[in-house]
């Protein structure tokens, strides 16, 4: 809950366009955790930023599918690097002018 409040606030103060949530350390993603994460992503979306979840471990992904958790509408990427690549691709598509990196 603290993470949620801080994150939604930070999206405003930093005028963030993208948020990467790294869940590598999570050994379990149950339906409660998944819903909390999903809600968080929707709140961030309403503040104008996109979120990508990275680092879902293979066993965790397997358990999530068995449990019926699809995280529909929430983009996921393999790791932090792929997460950053996801945003680079997306903003390139949106912007028309040249981008300074």
């Amino acid at each position: 809950m603290q993470l949620r409040d801080n994150l939604v606030l930070k999206v405003s103060t930093l005028r963030s366009r993208g948020v990467i949530i790294d869940v590598t350390v999570l050994d379990v993603m149950d339906s409660f955790a998944s819903r909390t994460l999903h809600d968080l992503v929707r709140m961030i979306k309403l503040r104008g930023a996109d979120t990508v979840i990275v680092g879902i471990q293979p066993e965790v992904a397997f358990a999530m599918v068995q449990l019926g958790l699809t995280m529909e509408g929430v983009p996921a990427a393999l790791d932090l690097e792929e997460g950053l690549a996801f945003f680079n691709q997306n903003s390139l598509r949106k912007e028309t002018g040249p981008r300074v990196k």
């Binding site: 149950d30 409660f32 066993e59 358990a63 068995q66 449990l67 019926g68």
Partner: protein, 133 residues
């Protein structure tokens, strides 16, 4: 090797304790990492249900040693309000708490055996088993 572990469930921290104990016991039995995660997820789900619906209860973990294959039993019991319609509670998408309604049907998919015993006003006991293949 300890054959039975009881974890009182009252707070979020207890959920983490229960699934860590489940992983430890499952490792003793010889489960692989995928099965350990499935077991830990089921424990997490059942313990969350206890807090959500009954406020408090207990998770009992037990090794099934004298059989082939061996396995692990997880019992989640509480003296909460109980479930009026178990058939409904086992349906995907049904929830009285505003959750996703994946909990119980999901747990039955994570594990090999699933039994539920519940009487309105007398609490709920869910017993699940996973066999080592």
């Amino acid at each position: 090797m300890s054959n039975e572990i009881r974890v009182a469930i009252q707070t979020d921290v207890d959920i983490v304790t229960a699934r860590m104990q489940g992983r430890a016991l499952g490792t003793e039995v010889g489960f692989g990492s995928t099965d350990l995660t499935l077991i830990a997820t089921a424990i997490s789900e059942l313990a969350r249900n206890i807090i959500l619906y009954a406020k408090q209860g207990e998770i009992i973990l037990e090794v099934i040693a004298n059989s082939d294959p061996c396995g692990i039993t997880v019992v989640a019991q509480d003296q909460g309000p109980g479930i009026i319609d178990i058939g409904q509670a086992m349906r995907v998408g049904y929830s009285t708490s505003g959750s996703l309604g994946l909990g119980l049907p999901g747990v039955s998919r994570l594990m090999d055996e699933f039994h539920i015993n519940s009487q309105p006003g007398q609490g709920t006991t869910v017993t699940v088993k996973k066999w080592k293949r």
